[in-house]
Subunit: 334 residues, 2 copies
């Protein structure tokens, strides 16, 4: 069985751990979001790819959900002593090594997909991990309104005339905790990006495409913004797992992203945002089971299941429910 998963960071990585348990014999290809990527201190950092790689490879800081277990922070402290900015993005010493190695290979001319494969030769995540694209795509956030003045950015030179500022997603997410409302979220470079080698093939060859409980805007949405990917996905049996439970994101600040694109923070609204043209099945939490009767979800098979990924057995059960739903929806199923 071939399963292809569009993946953001922490939620996707944990879901994938369950998926590997639920389908131990499946060939799993993970298409990772690279819109969160950022160049820090001259080094290329790919947070979502690394979170998947570290989590499945056994190197993740379990409590934090990202970064390496048992980290020290000497490099970061030294860079701060040199006055290097930014000081709001936390990278541990072990994590730095990944970014040094990645940057070295990129500078040597290797595309990100080849570099990711090289890094995975160490981590052996048990899935094939592909960046959505080898071309640089960066998610930018347009800030405006009263929140901007309070953010300090208005005085930082980042804010342009007219009281608007455009910041990298990470600056909004990590530095500003998404507390300044986003007026717009832009997958900068996506329109000109090509899917990385293997991406369209992996989607085309998949028996099922899964959306794990990742951010529908800046993770799944960014991957779908790469020309060719949305159409390839739409042609398949697609089952999504809602990242929203009971009107709130399980983790992260997806609500702030959904608000920016005018989508309500509810399991039903996110399912409807994807729409029946893209997804076939939508797994919601038991407390959101009313979504099954939501007219906005007409054409999408909605199932309820406990969606909190409390531990590996619970997560495995979620993955199994998604696969069961996909099997039902697959062409040729009785």
């Amino acid at each position: 069985m071939r399963i292809t998963v569009l993946a953001g960071g922490v939620g996707a990585a944990r879901f994938l751990r369950g998926l590997k348990q639920a389908a131990p014999d499946a060939e799993i290809t993970v298409i990772g979001n690279t819109g969160d990527d950022i160049t820090l201190f001259g080094l290329r950092v790919c947070p979502d790819l690394d979170t998947v790689m570290y989590t499945l490879g056994g190197g993740i800081d379990e409590e934090q959900g990202w970064g390496r277990a048992g980290e020290t922070h000497h490099v970061r402290a030294e860079l701060a002593a040199y006055g290097a900015s930014p000081d709001w993005f936390t990278l541990g010493d072990k994590d730095f090594a990944t970014h040094i190695r990645r940057s070295q290979l990129l500078a040597a001319g290797q595309p990100l997909s080849a570099v990711t494969e090289a890094l995975c030769q160490r981590w052996r995540p048990g899935v094939r991990l592909l960046p959505m694209s080898d071309d640089p795509v960066e998610t930018h956030v347009v800030l405006a309104g009263p929140g901007l003045a309070d953010s300090g950015l208005a005085d930082s030179g980042l804010a342009g005339s007219g009281g608007r500022a455009v910041v990298h997603f990470q600056e909004w997410w990590v530095r500003l905790h998404a507390e300044v409302p986003a007026a717009e979220i832009i997958a900068s470079g996506a329109a000109d990006a090509e899917p990385a080698p293997g991406v369209l093939d992996a989607i085309g060859a998949a028996d099922v495409v899964l959306f794990p409980p990742s951010n529908p805007v800046v993770s799944i949405g960014t991957i779908l913004a790469v020309p060719g990917i949305r159409a390839a996905v739409a042609a398949k049996t697609v089952v999504g797992v809602s990242p929203i439970i009971g009107g709130a994101p399980v983790r992260g600040m997806a609500d702030a992203c959904l608000t920016a694109i005018g989508v309500a923070t509810s399991a039903a609204a996110v399912g409807a945002h994807y729409g029946p043209g893209l997804i076939d099945g939508w797994l919601v939490d038991d407390q959101d089971k009313a979504a099954a009767d939501d007219p906005d979800l007409a054409g999408i098979e909605v199932r309820a299941h406990p969606l909190y990924m409390r531990d590996l057995p619970a997560t495995t059960a979620i993955a199994r429910a998604a696969l069961d739903l996909a099997a039902e929806l697959a062409p040729g199923h009785p």
Copy 2:
């Protein structure tokens, strides 16, 4: 009083600490060797500049003589886990931060001299530290003969036809411990390099130019190989401190370098190698005082003084002896 010093690594850095004590009111400019510089893991490493900067700035590992005090080695271990080479060059986590910052600023288009100044804003070494050149110069070592076969390099693909291999100085020095005889030592790129901004001015404006007990071939010799520097130095009152005591280098493997250029490992031979056209005074250790009568040193004022830099007072006394000799030799002295 203006003092300009041509500097290698550990020996120079320790001498400079004494010089600052001996001449607390002097304006000291240090012209650092960059021929040892190497790009590792995509990061630019400047061992001699850093040794001077860390030593004078209070960050050096005192026992080792290079690198940072209190180092950890997480980044290095991780890079090894990724299979990144080389594995024979030790960089600690704090040290990595310096190379990350330097590489970031270089990539942003700043010349090495400006980058070095920026790094020194943190370390405040109490001297003006200039790289000899902003242009890349790398010391390469030609290996040949029976030692090459034993080194393992002959099988590594580095050895070309005819049983010769050309390696970076650091590979010869650190990996091979200079145990394979050098057939030739080449300051690659030196002929096309220009002195960094401020270098010729600092030499021209100096009341005295000092050669600390640095390697006469790959440290002082490489600096002098940058067009314009030797002539500028030769026009000044120059006093050198012998790095050879009793027929052996105090530290390092200068003997292997001297052999490669056909110079004996003795205080007298090194003084004669510089020659009266370049240096005016030559400070040797008490046990080498016979050099004063060596006809090869005719035209050079030789003085004996205890030259082991056992501690700061001993080192300060050495620096003072060098300055005293320079004062005697200065034009206009009675």
